[in-house]
Amino acid sequence: MAGPLLKEQLVSVKHDWKDLSGKLVEKLELKHEPVGVYLVPSVHSERYEKFFESISRPSGKLTYCQAVETVRGSTNYSGLSNFPDALRLEAEDFLCSAGAANLGLYDLPDAIKNGERDFLLRRFYSIEASMVTRDKIPHFEPGSVSSVVVFKLSKAPVDPHIILIFGLPAQILSLEGPYVMRNGGRIQADLLGTCGLCAEMTVSPILNRRMNISTLCGGARAHAFKDPTEMGVGIPAQEFPNLVEDLLNRQNIPKRQDLPKELQ
């Protein structure tokens, strides 16, 4: 049976995230650098939380998207005097219960879980349609996550689980080709415009083990991401180094001698 992770396993950062982040920002001319997300599991949480205890918690409640917006340096919703490079959110720090529940901090309140809230706000044709839609929003098991750490990727204190990248559609488009270059295929977007940052950009890429594209959501755009031209992708962090490498390689014009021999 696996025991608690050793501190060395927790803290050993495997990639130069600052370098990778800088390359991506420079290549795509992104306005803001990517944001890393680390989800602290409830199992052995006390061990993890010791490691993250130096990272500030917000001084008041804020939504997950506001926390991301804060650490990327756009608007400071944390209530802290300085722009923090990283924030640690526990269950009581969340202003948006759906976001916290999607991320596994607790179970959804009944009126959201049973579809009533979305039925009233989104004007679904039936409460059943509303409930099915809510149920299909990607989410972790309630209570499986004890806290969430978000940080500027260049200041990553740990290897993130997920990396969030925001940009114009043309900038996001530039990521799509390089993402499939290595293995081929297509990108299947898992989105609805509800729970954009939490479910679509954070939970979905973990559950489905692939990059996901999001047009964000009404809540994120109302509470944090005010620039309507922005959209985002969430990518499992282990895929990020290859993505950056393939993005940079793409500018190299392929040579005929690189083709398989039978095609030369």
Partner: protein, 80 residues
């Protein structure tokens, strides 16, 4: 696994100057947190009512009210 239970309740403030009593927050709230109240002595028919958070302890932080308020009059925990 230690499951944290969601605790209902929030600090809700409504900017009376901005609120026009349109009733959207009353209709959209699944927990009946809001109610319309007549403004005493108000002669402007467009400002006859205002929204009041009568049961903020029931708020489930779904933020529907923030999303639907066309006047940005509602603050939950000081935020919009």
């Amino acid at each position: 696994m230690s499951t944290v239970t969601f605790q209902a309740g929030a600090n809700i403030k409504i900017d009376e100057d901005e609120c026009v009593g349109c009733r959207k927050c009353v209709e959209v709230c699944p927990e009946d947190v809001y109610e319309l109240e007549r403004r005493p002595g108000e002669t402007d028919p467009d400002r006859e009512y205002k929204s009041v958070a009568i049961a903020s302890e029931k708020c489930i932080l779904c933020l529907s009210c923030l999303e639907i308020c066309g006047k940005n009059a509602i603050y939950i925990e000081g935020k919009q």
